[in-house]
Symmetry: C2
Subunit: 121 residues, 2 copies
DNA sequence: GGGGATGGTTTCCATGAGGAAACTATAGAA
DNA sequence: TTCTATAGTTTCCTCATGGAAACCATCCCC
């Protein structure tokens, strides 16, 4: 077993860029939408409340460029475009799912902590 | 077991805000720095390459407000300030660690995918 | 009273991420 | 030829994030 020559604590390390991509505003939600299989653009858009088409396209293109999502165009009428997690993308599913689950299950506690903090002088 | 009334796919749900806080630029790195125990401001700053004091303060304050980190001031000379993960914060450690480990171990693959994507017309 | 150490704060600024709204492309159906 | 549907693109704009640099507060020591 070699050690991995990547370290997120190093500002020059590419893994830090990768980490930030993972944590961007829409990526975890796209993964959540695609977790059960291929999904069309308009379906992903509907799954994720509040995302505009421009930003969704940007997000999907970036994920495609990074090899996490694949894009398939079907020459039907009207055209059908399916987005699917690649094997690499699926390997990220479990970590992201853990973070998402944590956020949902602890959101209430955090809201309470904020109120307590803001109430204190 | 009740179902959790929070859903990151709902744009009005507070859990989405929580998810985005977790995924912000410096939060995962602060967690990485604090994972083994209390740490001073200057130590955290040194651990995380490239963070400015202003931004580090902002990040730590936010984490403190959210109940994830506690701040202890010791009236020594010079003053000593220690930041520690709270139990709530420690419960987030495993999910964040999984994401960080994924980023480090797959960074090389992603860089390759990008080159391949950019090389294609 | 000057210096050094820690832990910040303050000001100012540039960049870019993201959003709103309108528009485009394709192609069959009516 | 107009309509519909999907899947975007384009333009413009705003706002927040983050960074650089300088400054501040405390307290002891010399």
């Amino acid at each position: 077993m070699e050690t991995i020559p990547f370290d997120v604590m190093d500002p020059a390390c590419p893994s830090r860029v990768v980490l930030q991509r993972i944590g961007d505003k829409w990526t975890p939600l796209v993964f959540q939408s695609l977790k059960d299989g291929p999904r069309r653009f308009s379906e992903v858009r509907a799954d994720i409340g509040g995302v505009t088409p421009k930003v969704l396209t940007q997000t999907l293109r970036t994920l495609e460029r990074d090899g996490l999502v694949s894009r398939a165009v079907f020459a039907e009428v009207p055209v059908r475009v399916e987005y699917t997690l690649t094997p690499l993308g699926r390997s990220l599913l479990a970590p992201l799912e853990a973070v998402r689950a944590w956020a949902e299950s602890h959101a209430a506690t955090i809201l309470e902590a904020r109120e307590a903090f803001d109430a204190a002088d």
